[in-house]
């Protein structure tokens, strides 16, 4: 990670520059430079992307195969920076957009950060790309037979990749332009229409804002290069087939991807949207008035009125299953907290709901059930914003439902989904915890002083297990207001005979002297290694780092997320501000009574914070002990597994 950072820093601006300016301004230097810089990177990437055996065959007429592979990368990244210009170009003159494709390619090579993310996507879409090579070679073949100019062009492309001179590019450019002009005279109505449709589809696809590479198939920037040539020479019939083929091949993945990708977060300072959402919502929520300026984009409601309101609607909410309702109520009332518990409770509610589910007549189980689950999810979201781990679990459930074989009967399908859910709970949470505990124990030596913050169930299990194994160690439980979750942990630890010290976070710098290891839980680990956890974790990690005490995060891999977050402002959860205004058991501490009536006073009760990866020595997951830099690997390699265990 460290090594990569500088490169990114240097290149990033350049990429952006290229993305916006190169294609329209002057096609010559733009592609030239990017090609040169891009090609080595392309080589370095090829092991992942392109199966080596294909390379030699590139020279054959079936050029488009590697081409698409490379281009695809380009197209991936088009949305990152250079999307719009290329798109407009595409619609005007397909030829001119070819450099933009390559620009995108260069772009892709350098944005390391996002790489893992995209690669995962790409691999996910792999199967949809397959049809493409099948169809294109043919076309390439028969067009090579017909025209002489195009084959030259095509055969040159691999040469570019291995470092071609700018001259060739220019040549190609010219050729392309000339060839692209030619079809315009020739094309029949049907052809034009097919092209238009394909482009529209591609455009729409790209617009989804998916990093999804797979747009590739019909993706705007990758296509145009090839498309003109195909269109030119292939007979109209085959063209339309190709177009339809293309559509057929990439439409379904588009849709699926849309489901996968969570819709953009609602920004709660956007008034009109908030109004709209309010009309839809089940729980009647009044927004808090005294909101902190910096956090206005996060949902914050008057906490007092939600629960009674939801309670009174108990019998009116017909579409919500009782089990789901109960869990939602418990979220809202704060009876269930903690990432694992919330996730398990949600999954079990889903399971119960699925067991009681019966497909209405003339509906498809997969679709209707997915819609049902979505409605439950939105109900949960209204009760309390979802945690990242829950988001992953929901994605899992939905993908399981979507991928049910069509020939299953309803009861079989339900049983299959239920057993999948049960398996997720067992494997991804419980077994994972067991594995983590086993790993973590190896990190304790006799005489250690371990510090933990808040109450994490994995850390607790691991402490108890280590104690059972007879390790000699002492535990420091650090806690903070207002939840004081550590007290419950402390009670259980003490009950099991561990020797403990309890302190509040204010004293962290004093207590850190004697600590030898810090074990923390996490709500989520993001792909840049940032640990998203109970507020206060970051300061504990920072102090530990300053004292050169290793900070070890215990987190199940199902909580990993591909998102990248640099601070805890953009995405967080706001708790009940009253919780910090009131001191339980101290009626005399009432200085903040009626604070909401004071215009110029705002309280902030933040729930989570983001710990930068610099402060973390190691993350223990069910896949082993990894450095923070390996998080993207887990996300990339195993996320698919989440979805298809």
């Amino acid at each position: 990670m460290e090594a990569r950072r500088p490169t990114r820093a240097v290149i990033d601006p350049k990429v952006r520059h290229v993305g916006f300016f190169a294609p329209p301004a002057n096609p010559l230097p733009g592609p030239n430079s990017t090609l040169l810089s891009g090609s080595p990177a392309g080589n370095s990437l090829s092991p992942v992307m392109i199966p080596p055996p294909r390379h030699p065959s590139d020279r054959s007429p079936a050029v488009p195969v590697p081409d698409t592979g490379l281009r695809r990368q380009g197209s991936d990244h088009v949305p990152v920076g250079s999307y719009n210009p290329s798109e407009s170009l595409l619609s005007s003159s397909p030829a001119a957009s070819s450099p933009s494709g390559r620009v995108g390619l260069a772009d892709g090579e350098f944005s390391e950060e996002s790489d893992g993310w995209y690669r995962y996507r790409r691999s996910g879409s792999g199967k949809y790309d397959l049809p493409l090579p099948d169809t294109t070679p043919e076309k390439a073949l028969d067009y090579s037979a017909k025209s002489s100019a195009a084959p030259v062009l095509e055969s040159k492309k691999p040469a570019h990749v291995s470092g071609k001179s700018g001259k060739a590019v220019v040549e190609e450019q010219n050729e392309l332009q000339s060839s692209s002009k030619r079809p315009k005279e020739k094309t029949t109505k049907a052809e034009r229409r097919a092209l238009q449709e394909a482009q529209r589809a591609a455009k729409a696809a790209a617009k989804e804002g998916n990093k999804s590479a797979a747009v590739s198939g019909g993706g705007p920037p990758s296509k145009p290069v090839k498309q003109p040539s195909i269109k030119k020479d292939a007979p109209p019939v085959s063209l339309s087939i190709a177009a339809s083929d293309k559509k057929g091949s990439d439409r379904p993945p588009e849709k699926e991807r849309k489901k996968d990708v969570p819709p953009p977060r609602m920004q709660f300072d956007d008034k009109s949207r908030v109004e709209k959402a309010k009309r839809r919502s089940v729980v009647h929520q009044t927004e808090a008035r005294n909101r902190v300026e910096l956090f206005r984009h996060l949902p914050q409601y008057e906490h007092g009125s939600q629960l009674p309101d939801l309670e009174s609607k108990f019998f009116q909410l017909d579409p919500v299953h009782p089990a789901v309702y109960k869990v939602g109520l418990q979220y809202l009332a704060g009876d269930i907290t903690g990432g694992n518990a919330r996730c398990i409770a949600m999954l079990r509610a889903f399971k119960e709901a699925i067991e009681d589910y019966s497909t209405p007549p003339e509906k498809n189980l997969a679709r209707d059930l997915t819609a049902k689950i979505s409605s439950y999810v939105s109900f949960f979201t209204e009760c309390r914003p979802l945690s990242i781990s829950m988001g992953n679990a929901i994605r899992f459930v939905k993908s399981r439902i979507a991928n049910l074989p069509l020939n299953l009967s309803e009861s079989e399908a339900k049983a299959a989904v239920c057993s999948d859910i049960e398996r997720f709970i067992n494997e991804k949470i419980i077994l994972a915890d067991n594995v983590i505990v086993r790993h973590a124990v190896t990190k304790i030596r006799d005489g250690d002083v371990l510090l933990t913050y808040g109450s994490s169930c994995v850390v607790e299990m691991f402490l108890l297990y280590a104690h059972e194994m007879g390790k000699q160690f002492r535990v420091v439980v650090v806690d903070s207001r207002p939840k004081l979750e550590g007290q419950a942990l402390l009670r259980r630890l003490v009950a099991n005979g561990l020797s403990c010290t309890y302190s509040h976070i204010n004293a962290i710098s004093y207590i850190m002297h004697e600590v030898t290891r810090v074990f923390l839980g996490a709500a989520s680990v993001l792909s840049n290694g940032t640990v998203y956890s109970r507020v206060g974790t970051a300061s504990v990690a920072m102090v530990a780092h300053a004292f050169r005490v290793p900070v070890i995060i215990c987190c199940e891999a199902y909580k990993f997320h591909e998102r990248v977050q640099l601070d805890s402002i953009c995405s967080n959860e706001l708790g009940d501000p009253d919780a910090i205004a009131k001191v339980p058991g101290r009626m005399d501490v009432n200085y903040l009574n009626n604070w909401s009536n004071k215009e110029n006073l705002q309280l902030l009760n933040l729930m989570y914070d983001a710990t930068p990866s610099d402060y973390i020595s190691m993350i223990i997951t069910d896949y082993g002990m990894i450095p923070t830099t390996s998080v993207p690997v887990i996300v990339r390699e195993y996320s698919r597994e989440h979805l298809f265990i």
């Binding site: 309670e311 009782p322 109520l329 903690g338 915890d433 607790e460």
Partner: protein, 459 residues
């Protein structure tokens, strides 16, 4: 939502003796010219609870109530009216219809409840805590007006019965102690174990048990089966469940354990234990769980008895005494007018268009004049309900009273704080203060009564 609703409508209640009769059993007593049962049914209907079991004491009463319901709610509610013998008590009534109860949870509502507290809230609280029983409590009526309008001797014996001593935990979610005022002698006996487990108990006398309960069906049926002597839900079943919440006997062979066994078969035992541990550890433990964990590792069985305390802004009254009857009538056309379902005129009263008023007759605010009633000249009506087809002469004063249907009042009467049932005839210059006049009674001319119950002798 897997809830079944049982409305215990009662029958010929002894508390309301001059008011109820064979023709008008308690559920059909008019409150603002509507049977009191309609308030409960409409409350339930609003909450989308449309499958009800109405239990009525006595066969005759059941036929009457059934007839009324099928007439008034045809197409709106699916109501099953069940008759149970008289004097079996509320627990007995439930026992009698036990075979019809199938849902996971049962909601038991008293038919004499006049309230706007959503029953869903109680059900939600019940589900949230997975409780065995959840009771709705509301603030007891402030006894301000009752001093002025109460009929002295009778009320003295009844009054303490209306109040409950209720012990709550600090979060006001769990019921730790409950006793009705009537059972209390001089001292209250608390259980040490409960007190020790909770640490802090709040004892309140300003709450009233609204007689709206949510029960877990399996537990309720088990208790009813095992304890044959239990007569009343409020006096026997609820206190029993509250008493035994930390040494639960009911659940030992009840459903929850069976459930767990079922799960254990599916999963490896160890995983199950871990799972429950994860769930238990992170959720905020109630004292039940803490106590359940115990000190010596052995888990003790506990169950939860929850309460839902209605907020003060909600209206909640039970019509279980004569005093309450006039209070409820007054409130429904007064402060809780949204319950009555009528639209009030600008003068804050309801006068049916077919009602006729003589000259110089005034009908004050918070009054109601039923269909086809005629009033003579120079009358005045204040805070009273007058039923249908009454004939009232001239110079009659009615204040704080309830006059039911087909009552004839001759000239010069004065009625204060009284309840006059249907078909009563008051002759000239009768003065009634704080009286109850039973159905069909004839009060002779010129008689003056104060605080009396007048009724025909039972044949």
């Amino acid at each position: 939502m897997d809830f079944q609703v049982v409305v215990l409508a009662g029958g010929a209640s002894k508390n309301l003796i001059p008011l109820v009769s064979k023709e008008v059993p308690k559920p059909l007593l008019p409150v603002a010219n509507r049977p009191v049962l309609s308030y409960v049914l409409e409350l339930l209907e609003q909450s989308n609870l449309k499958d009800l079991i109405v239990v009525v004491e006595g066969q005759d009463a059941a036929v009457r109530v059934g007839g009324w319901i099928s007439g008034a709610y045809v197409g709106r509610l699916r109501v099953e009216v069940a008759a149970v013998p008289e004097d079996v008590g509320t627990a007995g009534a439930l026992r009698a219809i036990a075979h019809r109860l199938t849902a996971k949870d049962i909601m038991v509502v008293s038919g004499d409840l006049v309230s706007d507290v959503p029953p869903g809230a109680v059900a939600a609280a019940h589900r949230r805590h997975d409780a065995v029983v959840t009771a709705m409590l509301c603030s007891a009526p402030v006894s301000g007006p009752s001093e002025s309008g109460s009929s002295g001797g009778k009320d003295k014996t009844k009054k303490p019965g209306r109040y409950n001593i209720i012990g709550l935990d600090p979060t006001k979610q769990f019921l730790l102690y409950i006793a009705t005022g009537a059972e209390l002698e001089k001292d209250i006996r608390m259980q040490k174990s409960i007190l020790r487990a909770v640490g802090q108990m709040e004892i309140r006398a300003d709450l009233m048990d609204a007689h709206l309960y949510a029960f877990k069906r399996s537990v309720l049926q088990e208790v009813l089966d095992q304890k044959d002597t239990f007569q009343s839900l409020r006096q026997d079943v609820l206190p029993y469940l509250v008493r035994s919440q930390l040494k639960s006997e009911v659940l030992l062979n009840g459903a929850p354990q069976a459930e767990e066994n079922g799960n254990e078969k599916v999963n490896p035992l160890k995983n199950q234990v871990m799972l429950s541990q994860i769930l238990a550890n992170v959720s905020t433990p109630s004292f039940h769980e803490l106590y359940g964990l115990g000190t010596n590792g052995s888990t003790r069985r506990t169950h939860k008895c929850c309460v839902y305390i209605a907020s003060n802004s909600k209206y909640c009254m039970r019509l279980n005494s004569i005093q309450a009857f006039s209070d409820v009538n007054r409130d429904v056309i007064g402060e809780a007018s949204h319950l009555s379902g009528y639209s009030f005129s600008a003068q804050n009263n309801i006068i049916h268009p077919s009602a006729g008023l003589g000259s110089k007759t005034t009908v004050g605010p918070h009054c109601m004049l039923g269909e086809g009633s005629q009033m003579g000249d120079k009358c005045s009506v204040k805070r009273s309900v007058i039923g249908r087809h009454c004939r009232i002469g001239s110079n009659v004063k009615v204040a704080n009273s309830v006059i039911m249907n087909h009552v004839t009042i001759a000239d010069g009467c004065s009625i204060q704080g009284s309840v006059i049932c249907s078909n009563v005839q008051l002759q000239e210059r009768v003065v009634l203060k704080d009286c109850q006049v039973g159905a069909g009674f004839v009060v002779t001319a010129g008689s003056e009564c104060k605080g009396e119950a007048l009724a025909k002798k039972e044949k």
